[in-house]
């Protein structure tokens, strides 16, 4: 793949992952750094095909990453998720995703219960998707 093609592929991948994790589109600076990180580090290439499939079919990547991380904490997808998280955490617009700035126990307990339900969903859906699309 040529340089431009590779960069566009990585930006597309980052955009899809970021939307799945944070629910919005990443800024151009974050995309640029995501691509640079790929030039700087050697990512686990064993999972490259899995990632292509996940992006191509727009699968529930959060559930898939969860199951893959439970099996191998250094898998290709988790590495990419980690990079995106670190890059996002440095930006002011993401600070609300990481830092609690309002005391509101009721809302927060509701959010925690919702995340517990979501975890069960991810566990089931992730296991199913891995089998269904032969991603293991």
């Amino acid at each position: 793949m040529d340089f431009v093609g590779r960069r566009e592929g990585l930006e597309r991948e980052a955009g899809f992952f970021y939307r799945s994790i944070f629910g919005l589109d990443p800024g151009p600076l974050l995309l640029k750094r995501y691509v640079e990180a790929h030039n700087q580090f050697r990512f686990n290439e064993k999972g490259a095909t899995i990632i292509q499939k996940v992006v191509q079919y727009k699968l529930d990547v959060v559930s898939i990453e969860y199951i893959m991380r439970l099996r191998d904490k250094d898998n290709a997808l988790t590495q990419r998720f980690k990079v995106l998280h670190f890059l996002a955490e440095c930006q002011k617009e993401s600070s609300a995703d990481f830092i609690e700035s309002q005391a509101d126990p009721f809302r927060i307990w509701l959010a925690i219960v919702w995340q517990a339900v979501r975890t069960v969903r991810c566990l089931l859906l992730g296991s199913y998707l891995l089998r269904r699309y032969d991603l293991a």
């Binding site: 700087q40 998280h85 440095c90 990481f98 830092i99 700035s101 995340q115």
Partner: protein, 527 residues
């Protein structure tokens, strides 16, 4: 050839303390001496404020060379306190000129002025006679130097229930301000003291080399919570301050940019061979006495290289470590404290576990490191992990447990023929104490579960020692006498952690310094 009275190798805690003791004498310090980088002017204020107001903290938290992301791809992870861009100088360059080969070892070597203590948590603990049981010295031998250092550095803390383990000290500054979560922990301990004491568990304030009021021109701690990202906070002591002061006052001839490779002892002098890190040229320095304080691993390397010994395996002691997440559910949903710190909040002593000995636990808040460093360790989908950490951070304390280590050591080092240190070792997983503590903490409303305990790999504590232990009567060259003299004879003195005979469950830095001063004074007398 100029013959100096003393050559000190290294500017870490041992070198700085020895130089302080020998101030005004004919001393040459040889050091790699990498200095701290300048910090951008817009990276000031508290971490909380910076995160909420600074549009892009990437250059400060991750680094233009993506330094902070290296752990994602590395097998041997860099300590969280050493990985950010402004902290990387502490371990920078060591793998190039002083390589370590190991699959298990997660420690670090520093070539920085001030050594690894540029990134320490400031724990300044006196060893007790029980801690020194395996040493050929007692507390009485160190007491005077501890007092001198307390005056020199400025130590904060309190004479509380932990005095039997930390000693009474009338010169302590007031302790640091506790987070509300740690304060509540202490209050509940005080209300349930009998329960805790019944289990041989005691809680108190840590002794920290952190100023809470001005001391010798250094400002008190300002609760900016940047300990993971910025070194040289004037309130947090680093040996570099002592070195800088001694140089400024003309008490120390300091040569940076030199890496000591080996020494040779003759009847007239000790000749020290060093390599210039810029030009790669070698040069020999001479002195009547050599004080080796390059840091335990580097000191062992110099000693082995001087004898061209590529066969002997030396012991390595390291405090086994574990981390327990504790949650107080009544704090869930509270706002994150804006003015906090990443320094040790409380110390807990867990006495007398059979076969384990005394364990020391330090409680920390989780407000310091990046959330992304923790999220992926949680057994949750990433979105849930991030949300949980965000909502529960104000309710979470991290209990870091240090276990003691004694001979026979669980680790060993050998010098490879190519000059690399080969380190082997494993960290023993001791679960009994952690189980007991989880049960006890639950009774005062701080919850955890054994599945949430993390046992850290060998070397993670960065408390590495014991390669050339002091003994009453050294039986071989790789042991020291009570004066740190290698082989019990001659003019080579080991002054850093390499000469420790065991490792109690305490930060060893303060005792390295006191012992280095003691050895320096003894060496001066025998000059």
């Amino acid at each position: 050839m100029i013959l100096r009275d003393f050559i000190i190798v290294g500017s870490g805690p041992a070198g700085a303390a020895a130089a302080l003791q020998l101030a005004g004498k004919d001393v040459l310090m040889i050091d790699a001496g990498f200095d701290a980088p300048g910090v951008a002017s817009d990276f000031r204020g508290s971490l909380h404020r910076l995160r909420c107001t600074h549009s892009d903290l990437f250059p400060h938290l991750i680094g233009d060379r993506f330094e902070s992301l290296e752990n994602i791809f590395a097998t041997n992870k860099i300590n969280l306190k050493l990985k950010s861009p402004y902290m990387r100088y502490i371990i920078e360059g060591s793998q190039g000129v002083a390589p370590v080969r190991s699959e298990e070892f997660h420690g670090a070597i520093s070539l920085a002025k001030g050594g690894l203590a540029n990134g320490w948590g400031g724990g300044a603990y006196r060893f007790t006679d029980r801690d020194l049981e395996r040493f050929p010295i007692s507390y009485a031998d160190l007491n005077k130097y501890y007092d001198l250092l307390t005056d020199h550095i400025g130590i904060s803390g309190r004479n509380d229930d932990l005095v039997p383990w930390f000693h009474f000290d009338p010169n302590l500054q007031e302790p640091i301000k506790l987070s509300s979560l740690a304060k509540k922990f202490l209050q509940r301990y005080e209300r349930n003291r009998l329960l805790f004491v019944g289990h041989n568990v005691y809680v108190g304030m840590p002794r920290l080399a952190v100023l809470t009021r001005e001391h010798r021109g250094r400002a008190p701690y300002n609760y900016d919570n940047l300990e993971f990202f910025k070194s040289r906070n004037p309130a947090i002591y680093t040996p570099a301050y002592t070195i800088d002061r001694l140089i400024a006052e003309g008490y120390l001839d300091y040569r940076s940019g030199w890496l000591v490779e080996s020494f040779e002892e003759t009847d007239e002098a000790v000749k020290v061979r060093a390599k210039n890190l810029q030009t790669a040229q070698s040069r020999t320095f001479s002195a009547r006495k050599l004080l080796l304080g390059a840091g335990a691993l580097s000191t062992a390397r110099i000693v082995l290289a001087s004898r061209k010994d590529y066969k002997t395996c030396l012991p390595v002691l390291d405090n086994p470590m574990s981390c327990i997440f504790l949650c107080n559910f009544t704090h869930v949903g509270q706002e994150l404290e804006r003015s906090s710190c990443s320094l040790g909040q409380l110390n807990i002593i867990c006495e007398g576990e059979p076969g384990i000995g005394t364990i020391q636990i330090t409680l920390y808040t989780t407000s310091g490191p990046l959330r992304s460093d923790i999220i992926f360790d949680l057994p949750l989908p990433v979105v849930a992990g991030r949300a949980l950490l965000k909502h529960m951070s104000p309710a979470i304390l991290l209990a870091v447990c240090f276990h003691p280590a004694a001979m026979p050591a669980t680790g060993s080092i050998r010098l490879g023929a190519d000059g690399a240190l080969e380190i082997e070792g494993n960290s023993t997983k001791l679960e009994i104490a952690e189980q007991k503590l989880i049960g006890l903490f639950r009774k005062i409303g701080y919850f955890s579960h054994s599945s949430l305990v993390q046992y850290l790999p060998f070397g993670s504590s960065l408390h590495v020692a014991g390669m050339l232990p002091m003994t009453e009567r050294p039986s071989r060259y790789y042991e020291c006498d009570a004066d740190g003299r290698l082989g019990g004879d001659g003019n080579i003195h080991v002054i850093d952690g390499a000469c420790f005979s065991s490792l109690p469950a305490k930060n060893l830095t303060f005792t390295i310094m006191a012992n280095a001063m003691r050895i320096a004074e003894r060496a001066l007398r025998s000059l």
